[in-house]
């Protein structure tokens, strides 16, 4: 008599079954990331036309803008998974959220640095208090706050849940913060110095940025999968399967 086993995604919601899945998928996403970023960089350096006003230095926008998009997107994803972990009480979702945070913070940092590198040749200063850069700065603080809170709480479940509440509060606040900073920036600075109103988008430029964004996205998934594997090993170290896993690798 044959028993048909229905395949269920819930199978992967336990850390033990997700661990090997993450290990298998990770190299593929890493490869995709390298591929897409290579294509994106090629477009940004060789295909996209030179800008009339800013010359070649504007090309950093191909890293700056996708990094900024990713930083915001990852915060939303992080908020989503922590929320799931809070409501459904699943450990793996919280682990994924914890694993996402450093990558999100990294992209925020990249956005800030590339913003500075763009500002110097274009407007002569290393930092401009424009809407996007200031919002990115505040977003960096939100990421750091999330990581600091989780690091400061010893009890793991409490750290997960507290981080979830913070992340959800952050998700609600991010549009408000962005709107406020945008308003503040237009009021005080006038229209001259603004990275949001940069060179009008030629189609190739947009394509380049989208491909870079996809590349960053693949990188984020790859990095998060790798990190989540480490988080799983660390948190589940009392279980037999982890002991076997680590023992087998020695």
């Amino acid at each position: 008599m044959s028993k048909s086993r229905k395949f269920s995604w819930y199978y992967f919601s336990s850390p033990q079954s997700f661990y090997p899945l993450a290990g298998t998928l990770q190299p593929w996403f890493a490869a995709l990331a390298v591929l897409l970023c290579a294509v994106g960089l090629y477009i940004s350096f060789f295909v996209a036309p030179t800008d009339a006003q800013q010359g070649e230095s504007y090309r950093i926008i191909f890293i700056h803008v996708p990094a900024a998009w990713m930083s915001m997107f990852l915060y939303l994803v992080m908020g989503f998974w922590s929320g799931v972990g809070l409501v459904l009480n699943t450990r793996l979702s919280s682990m994924v959220a914890t694993a996402l945070a450093p990558t999100g913070a990294l992209f925020t940092f990249i956005a800030l640095w590339t913003g500075a590198l763009w500002g110097k040749p274009t407007w002569g200063t290393w930092w401009v208090w424009d809407a996007r850069l200031t919002s990115e700065l505040i977003l960096l603080f939100l990421y750091i706050g999330f990581m600091a809170l989780q690091a400061a709480i010893d009890d793991q479940r409490r750290a997960d849940k507290a981080g979830a509440v913070l992340a959800l509060v952050g998700v609600i606040n991010i549009p408000i913060i962005y709107f406020s900073v945008k308003w503040w920036s237009t009021l005080h600075q006038g229209a001259s110095v603004s990275m949001t109103g940069a060179p009008t988008m030629a189609k190739t430029m947009l394509l380049g940025m989208l491909i870079m964004a996809l590349g960053f996205w693949m990188y984020s998934i790859a990095a998060t999968l790798a990190r989540v594997r480490c988080v799983i090993l660390e948190r589940e170290r009392q279980t037999d399967w982890v002991a076997a896993e680590i023992g087998g690798q020695k």
């Binding site: 706050g145 849940k161 507290a162 406020s180």
Partner: protein, 222 residues
Amino acid sequence: MIRALGWVLRRDLLLAFRRRGDVVNALVFFVIVVSLFPLGVGPEASQLRNMAPGVLWVAALLACMLSLARLFAPDHQDGTLEQMLLAGEPLVVLVAGKVISHWLMSGLPLVLMAPLLGLQFDLPGDALAVLCVSLLIGTPVLSLIGAVGAALTLGVRGSGVLVALLVLPLYVPVLIFGAGAVGAVAAGTGAEAHLLLLGGFLALSVVLAPWACAAALRIAME
């Protein structure tokens, strides 16, 4: 339910009255911080007048944030917080009572003190009035958001600085529109839009923050 809120309020106000020093210290902190800025940037009148809305708001924000340490931590230490969680009244109501008493003890004194400090910066009369109104609407928002931060970091080591790290980024919109309101009046344009937005923030935080705070308290007590 209102009765329970009333009793929480009454208890906290009684405690504040018996420890008046704590309330006064926070107010003195506000005054000192405000006085630091002219010492730092020079006494030139027009520069101070331009800076005044921002300086007063930042100082108010910091004073509010410092007083968050008194919100839940003492209750956590002597066991009264545990009893509030077991009270059989909705925790949201009791949290609302705590936040209201926190605002009365830390936010309201700032509202009353601010005009005097505004005079030190030579702000005109209508700007002073708007300063008061903006603080009146804005400081409850600071208390509400701060309560969530205080609840999340309850009993955590290094919680003083951690609360600052969590809560200050969330304070940014209130700061922008609060200081912006005063700046707009000083510049001659109207402050209605700013104050309306602040009112919007207040409405949003009144609805959302008590729930987040209650959830955070339950998480902290586990």
